[in-house]
């Protein structure tokens, strides 16, 4: 790097303290280089905030506005405590998938850190948000901030009308189901504030009439349909629990359905992030590293800047080994960064092994390959497609099979010729939400009888639900208003009831 370094330009000053002029100057250069590399981003909006505001943003799940809820207060207090005692540093940045893309810079950061964050968040993450198919499908950067404002206003209106406590309990229940509020295989409708507002009232009325119809108890109707009514409901098992409740819970009032919807929509917004951690963080890390090094090669950055930058960068991509006390699993920054770097290497300097494993991309144009990979993959498929033997060797990856019926663990594969495919397969599966999280389904509603709702956990590899399940079932019962049953279907076909929560009157629970 220093060999080909040409002193063409006067380096940008790199004092410890940042100024607005400097941020602008650095941004200008980073922007120029990013364009040269062909990064396509939303326009940037860089906001400077205090550490306290950073903690605020943290605790409201990284969103610039959010409705009020005690759990956000809890997480704020938790963060604040950790930060004040120096147990934990704050993230240097938060970036919001919106258009314009909002990146927060903390005022405590040095100039070097600000430049790093601009390159990482405002160009790395930003271009990922704009290009990746999951983000395109599941989120709408143009509408999210407006939607959050709508949500907050709607909820505070509800609080005024129905009481804070009522709303809080409802939110508690919805939050408990936030991670089962997504149709994994269906595309959601795009968010749009205007549509939300204009259609919200219509929807409320219409939904209520539908629900009423579903639960109609007029005798004439009953007689006529007695025979047909043996049909199941839902006709097929549903995986989106929140959606099912929003549309079908018999006792919810229209405003409550709207709240369920809001929580569902916001939860859905984070769905792509949960599935693209390695790719997204790796991508952003790769670009801050590449952009700043390019600037350095052009002679725009001082050596002291680079020293500080490399120090932070190295910390970010540090990967401890399995037997070190600070091992917390694979570091997505480290793995992602290594994989993107490796893809470039395969494109530019492929070895025979690479040609054998990656005939499509070995020797191809790396920018095109990057663009293709960034746009069309998520962690699961990205690992399955691009994890090369070299990266597996570098990380010395190995897979362990943990079967609770065996007394010992078994090493199922390691980084050798026999094991590459297996390790890659297992790692890919580890990033698959479908196998990482329990498979839960709305199984049946007893329409003619006690209106009870049955949820079914399709056990996979004998993995049980955790202890929270009983509590969550209570929350489901609060929303559903009648008996809720949780059963588990074992792989051998046995079905057993895990929990049952009787809740004849929803009201009785609320105070």
């Amino acid at each position: 790097m220093s060999a080909k370094r040409q002193k063409r330009k006067q380096p940008l000053p790199s004092p410890g303290e940042w100024t607005f002029e400097l941020i602008e100057a650095y941004h200008l250069e980073i922007d120029r280089v990013a364009r040269e590399y062909g990064l396509d981003t939303y326009p940037n909006q860089i906001e400077l905030i205090t550490s306290e505001q950073m903690m605020d943003a943290y605790s409201s799940v990284g969103m610039p506005v959010n409705y009020h809820h005690w759990s956000f207060g809890k997480s704020f207090m938790h963060t604040e405590k950790g930060y004040r005692r120096g147990q934990m540093g704050l993230a240097y940045e938060i970036v919001i998938n919106s258009n314009p893309c909002i990146a927060y810079l903390m005022e405590e950061n040095t100039m070097t850190m600000q430049a790093l964050v601009i390159a990482h968040a405002a160009y790395g993450h930003n271009s990922f948000f704009k290009g990746n198919y999951l983000f395109k499908q599941w989120t709408n950067a143009d509408a999210i901030v407006d939607y959050l404002i709508f949500a907050r206003n709607y909820l505070s209106e509800c609080e005024e009308r129905y009481g804070e406590e009522e709303v809080e309990l409802l939110l508690d229940s919805c939050h408990a189901l936030m991670n089962v509020g997504v149709d994994r295989y269906k595309r959601p409708a795009k968010l749009s504030l205007n549509k939300e507002l204009t259609r919200q009232r219509e929807r409320a009325e219409y939904l209520q009439s539908q629900v009423n119809d579903l639960w109609r108890t007029l005798p004439a109707h009953q007689v006529k349909t007695q025979a047909v009514e043996e049909r199941r409901f839902p006709s097929e098992p549903q995986e989106n629990l929140l959606y099912f409740i929003e549309k079908n819970a018999p006792l919810l009032e229209p405003w409550q359905r709207e709240v369920v919807r809001i929580v569902r929509k916001i939860g859905q917004y984070f769905f792509p992030q949960r599935q693209t951690q390695v790719m997204n963080e790796g991508w952003a890390t790769y670009w801050h590293y590449t952009l700043l090094n390019t600037l350095y090669d052009e002679g725009l950055l001082t050596d002291s800047f680079m020293m500080e930058f490399l120090h932070s960068h190295t910390n970010v991509v540090y990967q401890p080994n399995y037997n070190e006390p600070w091992y917390r699993g694979l570091n997505p920054y480290a793995l992602g960064f290594a994989m993107w770097q490796d893809i470039r290497r395969i494109c530019e300097h492929p070895t025979d092994e690479d040609r054998h494993w990656f005939p499509d991309i070995a020797g191809s144009d790396w920018r095109e390959t990057f663009d293709f990979a960034m746009r069309n993959f998520k962690d699961e498929s990205f690992v399955a497609q691009f994890l090369s033997p070299k990266v597996m060797r570098d990380f010395r990856l190995f897979a362990i099979l943990d079967d609770d019926k065996e007394s010992k663990l078994k090493v199922s594969a390691i980084h050798d010729d026999a094991g590459y495919r297996k390790v890659r397969e297992i790692l890919s599966d580890n990033y698959n939400l479908g196998s990482r999280e329990p498979n839960l389904q709305v199984w049946n509603v007893d329409l003619r009888g006690d209106r009870s709702l049955t949820l079914r956990h399709q056990a996979y590899l004998r993995r049980p639900l955790n202890g929270d399940a009983e509590e969550v079932v209570k929350h489901v019962a609060r929303l559903w208003g009648f008996v809720v049953r949780m059963e588990v279907a074992h792989e051998d076909g046995r079905v057993e009831v895990l929990h049952e929560c009787r809740r004849d009157r929803r009201k009785s629970d609320t105070h």
Binding site: E24, I49, H69, W70, K81, L397, D402, R463, G467
Partner: protein, 421 residues
């Protein structure tokens, strides 16, 4: 293309609402923590927050996840010894140790208590809530300082109402003298020349006229110096200083005979704390004298006052005697405002009660700002109460209250507070 926005001065405390929600939701746990804190605290120590810890299972946010068990296959880094097919013993513990499953840290995290700090305001809020204080009183008590504005010299700027005329004009005069000094020296010189000339020449001599012109110009210059300039203005300066406060002594008298159990003592402690808080509103320096008694009285420190156990009969007058003695020795020099607070279950030795009344009426109450007696007993008032009742009409600075629960304490202070306000 880029927008850089400085948000650092936007409203802080965006999370305040969420924090309040949190506090409301866990009110009962917080109350408990505050009650614990009070029993562990000195009665003078009300100006600090408190750290509260809540078991984290109480505030969990449950979600569906996998638990431990079943078959898992995971990938780890840094293989240093394994080959395919190796069998390894399970690592002990799981969480924390390197080869624990990714899930373990998540489960393990949940075990600690959730600890956070109450601010002074939040602490007092809970404290007051128990005592059923009216809102006005709460805000009055929670306020830390009172200020009074005081003259403090002069400043160069201020409101027109505060202009100090004498100072301003004095400044103006000085300025005029200083600015005119080059001219007036010359003026004097010219005038002298003119006088000399006039002795030899007639009035209309061109030289004389020329001198007169010059003098005229100089005069005009001197007059052109403004009489007063904004620069000359001086304003009376007023600053806020904490209200001067005097000192007070507070006597805490408590019956520690066998019949006073821990519950009653806790109630008494709240009563003393509240009185102390009232006094801190008015006095900067407060001394507290603790006197406990059963059949004999003793001056003790706070620790012993609340925590050491005694038993036996009750002679209240012993405490009043001691109080009288301490009063005369240390506090009757006119520099002290004296307050007394007595807590008892009212169970006194029958013949002693009239003596108590006399002692109070004659040797104590005349010197005191206020004396409050609380009788903590679930049933009928006891003999001491009946004797004390006779003091009520006669002495305006005496108050008494029969207390069964914490909310009964406040009425004792109503009178006191009204007077002080």
């Amino acid at each position: 293309m880029v927008r850089i926005i400085d948000r650092r001065f936007d409203s802080k405390n965006k999370s305040t609402v969420n924090r309040q929600r949190f506090m409301r939701r866990f009110k009962s746990q917080i109350r408990e923590a505050v009650a614990d804190a009070i029993s562990g605290r000195s009665i003078k120590d009300l100006d600090n927050g408190e750290s509260v810890s809540i078991p984290s299972r109480d505030l969990s946010e449950p979600q569906f996840h996998h638990g431990k068990g079943g078959i898992w296959e995971n990938v780890f880094t840094g293989n240093d010894q394994f080959s395919s097919g190796d069998q390894i013993n399970r690592p002990p513990g799981g969480g924390g140790s390197g080869s624990g499953k990714g899930k373990a840290s998540k489960d393990g995290e949940g075990e600690d208590d959730f600890v956070f700090n109450l601010s002074r305001e939040e602490f007092l809020d809970v404290f007051f809530d128990d005592l059923a204080l009216p809102n006005l009183v709460k805000t009055q008590l929670a306020r830390i300082h009172e200020y009074k504005s005081q003259r403090a010299g002069f400043t160069n700027d201020g409101t027109p109402a505060n202009i100090n005329v004498v100072r301003s004009l004095r400044g103006a005069l000085g300025r005029r003298l200083a600015l005119a000094s080059p001219y007036s020296g010359k003026l004097r010189e010219l005038q002298k020349q003119l006088e000399e000339l006039l002795e030899t020449r007639p009035d209309d001599d061109p030289e004389v006229l020329k001198l007169k012109d010059e003098i005229g110009i100089l005069r005009a210059k001197i007059e052109a110096i403004p009489f007063i300039d904004t620069f000359d203005l001086r304003f009376n300066n007023r600053i806020k200083v904490p209200k001067p406060t005097t000192q007070a002594v507070m006597f805490c008298i408590m019956d520690v005979s066998g019949s006073m159990d821990e519950g009653k003592k806790a109630t008494a402690k709240r009563f003393f704390m509240l009185l102390y808080l009232f006094l801190t509103r008015t006095y900067e320096h407060i001394e507290v004298v603790f006197i406990r008694h059963h059949t004999v009285a003793k001056e003790v420190n706070e620790e012993d006052f609340f925590h050491s156990r005694e038993s036996g009969g009750t002679v209240v007058s012993s405490a009043l005697d001691l109080m009288k003695e301490v009063l005369q020795q240390r506090y009757l020099n006119g520099a002290w405002n004296i307050y007394g607070a007595q807590a008892s279950d009212g169970d006194n030795w029958e013949n002693d009660s009239p003596h108590c009344r006399e002692l109070l009426a004659e040797s104590i109450l005349p010197f005191l700002q206020y004396f409050a007696y609380i009788e903590i007993t679930p049933g009928e008032p006891q003999n001491l109460w009946r004797e004390y009742e006779k003091l009520l009409g006669v002495h305006a600075n005496f108050a008494m209250q029969h207390i069964e629960g914490l909310p009964d304490i406040y009425p004792v202070f109503r009178e006191l507070f009204k007077k002080r306000l």
